[in-house]
């Protein structure tokens, strides 16, 4: 019985790879399996090679894993490209005529199921477009998937948007594929997947989880400029905001996006913007404005591969230091790094509370990897969402204050906040250095005082931040430190290492700034060897750790900058070799 399976669907952009993958992921999820998807697609609408891997498991899984078990190929290039990543005993579903181009060695240990999907689609439906569903039907037969579940998924996908007829034809195509497979494939070649009860889980992407988090956190203003791979957040909010009384603005650029969000937040609405790559560079200016004027704002940065235009649809962790040091001058800022889709949801709510409590910009630094890909998560608990607006004054409270000072020096650095339209709260907000009332003041005495006041907020915030989390055996002597999307592959690498008799533990850094130097140092001090995993060239997390402490032992870097995320073996192998 199979307990863990990876299916790759490969073809050209425009083949419907994404659609087929989404349907398959949903079917497997409904059969009670844990899902992790991984899309590898070009920055292109039609024509270039693309693939979509769906890993499903009966156990909880954290990443895309190391192997591919089934390859559903729409063309010859897809087979040639991926045949060598296919596991021993792997299955290939393909048109058939391309097989002659494979070398005997490439065909070894694999089962090929030729399937005339295009001919069938044309004969029956007069349109090649149905080839996906026919091939999917074939796979359903091989894996013995529940056809009624499949019909439900197809109906949900198409009924509203495209109508009954489209549902009928797609279901027919799946049945046809299934029947065709029955004729061609012997029953001993089937690999029945166990069906479990679909537990209380969601199949959702990180970007959508952030959209949902923003919605329940009370965010009602969102301004952004279209950019890969962050746009899904917007597409989600634009859908649900109207009925919740929210506004989404498509701005002319990212400069406008962040400034509009700051404006809306200053007026009293929880506001957010999202971006990636070059958009983040443009937002740096507004980021500084938020820090200087103490207007809360939440910025989501879904990291893609840079520099410059880079590889817009692929994942990297190369913008860590940008947000920690970015914008001219020095401001208090909080940078959160969720490692999972669950954390995308939770940290978004946290981000809004932190932004308002400490009246500073909060960056939610995520990655394309779990931003655009789907995974199963335990259904979000939306019944007890805490909304904390910090020192936001009511008009009544304001009326009791004599000589209100918006930027009053306080013990914790945070000043009571009034909103425009409130009586007795009239004040000035200055992007120049200013005094407690908000009026420009360039004196050394004032500058020193206000600088310390603003930066003090980070010290106050410390108790409120998301602390690092430790996975694995506490007393292991090998330590691994990582953040963000490396959570998945590192946790799976721990298991692989344990299988080879090596005990290791992992510290997931979840707030990048202000940095938890004490916790990280304590962790390192319990290790004889320590590795820092970075999905970037410069080893930015490793640099960050070194910049905050003298760790005592040498921190070895494990880096990857191929525009692909880590697989567990990329982390386990170098550690195993060093023993």
């Amino acid at each position: 019985m199979i307990e863990d399976i990876s299916v790759m669907i490969a073809g050209k952009a425009g083949d419907g790879v994404l659609f087929t993958g989404n349907v398959l992921a949903k079917i497997l999820k409904r059969q009670g399996w844990h899902i992790v998807t991984y899309r590898d697609f070009p920055s292109n609408i039609r024509g270039e090679a693309t693939n979509y891997t769906i890993r499903a498991s009966l156990r909880k899984i954290f990443g895309r894993g190391d192997r591919i078990d089934v390859l559903m190929a729409f063309d010859c290039d897809a087979i040639l490209e991926h045949i060598n990543s296919l596991a021993k005993g792997g299955i290939v579903l393909c048109e058939g005529r391309e097989l002659t181009r494979l070398k005997p060695a490439e065909r070894m240990d694999k089962t090929f199921h030729p399937f005339p999907m295009r001919i069938l689609a044309k004969d029956k439906f007069g349109n090649e477009i149905f080839k996906n569903m026919i091939l999917l039907g074939g796979l359903c037969y091989i894996l013995d998937l529940d056809l009624s579940v499949i019909e439900n998924v197809i109906t949900e996908t198409f009924l509203k948007r495209k109508g009954k007829e489209v549902v009928r034809r797609n279901v027919e195509a799946i049945h046809m594929g299934c029947e065709e497979a029955k004729k061609r494939i012997e029953s001993r070649e089937r690999h029945s997947l166990r069906r479990k009860k679909d537990e209380n889980r969601l199949l959702i992407s990180g970007n959508e989880a952030i959209g949902l988090g923003a919605l329940v956190a009370g965010c009602r203003f969102f301004a952004a400029y279209p950019i890969c791979p962050a746009t899904e957040i917007w597409q989600m909010l634009v859908h649900y905001f109207p009925e919740c009384g929210g506004i989404v603005v498509q701005t002319e650029d990212e400069l406008a996006a962040i400034n509009m969000a700051i404006g809306a937040s200053y007026a009293g609405t929880r506001a957010m913007t999202s971006t990636s790559g070059p958009g983040a560079s443009l937002m740096m200016e507004g980021f500084g404005l938020s820090g200087m004027t103490e207007v809360p704002v939440v910025v989501v940065h879904v990291q893609r591969v840079g520099p410059s235009t880079g590889l817009p649809t692929k994942s990297e962790q190369s913008d860590l230091l940008q947000w920690i040091h970015g914008s001219h001058g020095e401001i208090p800022r909080i940078v959160l790094s969720p490692g999972s889709i669950q954390e995308c949801f939770e940290f978004t709510i946290k981000a809004f509370n932190l932004a308002e409590k400490y009246q500073c910009p909060v960056i939610l630094l995520t990655e394309q990897d779990y931003g655009q890909n789907y995974r199963t998560v335990t259904k979000f608990d939306v019944t007890k969402i805490e909304i904390d607006r910090g020192k936001l004054l009511t008009e009544k409270e304001l009326l009791g204050i004599k000589n209100y000072k918006r930027f009053a020096i306080t013990r914790d650095g945070v000043s009571p906040r009034a909103l425009p339209s409130m009586k007795n709260g009239i004040h000035m907000v200055e992007s120049n250095e200013h005094d407690e009332r908000g009026f420009r003041d360039e004196s050394a005495r004032n500058r020193t005082k206000m600088m310390e006041k603003r930066m003090k907020k980070l010290e106050t915030a410390r108790k409120d931040l998301v602390r690092p989390r430790i996975w694995g055996h506490q007393d292991a002597e090998i330590g691994i430190i990582g953040c963000g999307s490396t959570l998945g592959p590192i946790r799976e690498a721990l298991a692989q290492l344990r299988d080879s008799g090596i005990d290791a533990k992992f510290m997931q850094v979840r707030t990048l700034w202000p940095f938890h130097q004490k916790e990280v140092k304590d962790f390192i001090s319990t290790c004889k060897q320590c590795y820092v995993v970075d999905n970037n060239y410069e080893g930015q997390l490793r640099q960050l750790i070194y910049s905050r402490m003298r760790p005592g032992i040498e921190l070895k870097g494990i880096r990857k900058y191929s525009a692909y995320t880590f697989r567990p073996k990329d982390i386990a192998e170098p550690i195993r070799e060093a023993q």
Partner: protein
């Protein structure tokens, strides 16, 4: 104008005009160079009961913030945009600005500017601005009237103000503006609702026009985005459980 001080926000950019906030008893935001408009639009969208006055200089509005200007006009967000035009960068000590004339000599163009000036009124007209006017600091009565009208107008109103820089700009003085302006408000039969006529006026006259060039009524972005009287800041932060269940269902 019967606006309570606490119901008005004055947003300024960076430049000599940026001092203006200090002379108002109203909420004020001295923002970034070129970004006054996006900030002001965010404020207006979050609380449409506020009167939002945005002030920029010619560098702020027509150079570094030009992209925002065009888009604010086409969105027709209900705010008043006052652009103080002195045809020079004053705060940075006298460089050529986007509205300086061709051939203008300054510390940044000692051999004369090679570029043609930008006309903000023209840009507002082609970008869908719904209230477009120009005043002159040498004619304060007309200016007050235009600003009042602009604030009353529902939609994006541009009031450019010719405002000589007596320190750095020796060419475009009060006298120069007096000789080089043409007042539409005094033109008999001028119809500010006629867009074609507005274009012609900008093109025909050899002088800078003054007065109300163009006005039309068009639904504003803020009203389209959030119909009704209640501002966005009054929207409930909690989401109804039934609604949430429906949303979550999609991912099950």
């Amino acid at each position: 104008m019967k606006i309570n001080p606490e119901d008005m926000v004055v947003v300024t950019g960076i430049g000599c005009h940026g001092r203006l906030n200090n002379y108002f008893r109203a909420y004020g935001f001295h923002s970034l160079h070129g970004r006054a408009l996006p900030l002001a639009q965010g404020i207006k969208l979050a609380n449409k009961t506020l009167s939002v006055i945005t002030v920029s200089g010619d560098g702020d509005a027509y150079s570094i913030g030009l992209g925002h200007f065009i888009h604010a006009a086409r969105r027709n967000i209900d705010l008043t945009y006052i652009v103080v035009n002195n045809m020079i960068y004053g705060l940075t000590q006298g460089q050529t600005s986007p509205t300086s004339q061709k051939g203008f000599v300054s510390v940044s163009t000692p051999f004369g500017s090679k570029e043609s000036p930008v006309c903000g009124l023209h840009l507002a007209l082609v970008s869908g601005g719904t209230f477009i006017a120009r005043g002159f600091s040498g004619a304060p009565h007309q200016l007050i009237r235009l600003i009042e009208k602009g604030i009353h107008h529902r939609g994006f109103s541009l009031i450019e103000v010719l405002s000589p820089c007596v320190t750095h700009n020796r060419l475009n003085s009060y006298q120069w503006f007096k000789e080089n302006t043409y007042d539409l408000d005094h033109e008999k039969g001028y119809d500010s609702r006629n867009k074609e006529r507005a274009f012609l006026s900008l093109n025909e006259k050899q002088k800078l026009i003054l007065g109300l060039l163009y006005q039309e009524e068009r639904p504003s972005y803020d009203d389209l985005s959030l119909p009704g009287e209640a501002p966005l800041i009054r929207s409930k932060m909690q989401v109804n459980q039934n609604k949430l269940d429906k949303i979550l269902k999609k991912y099950e």
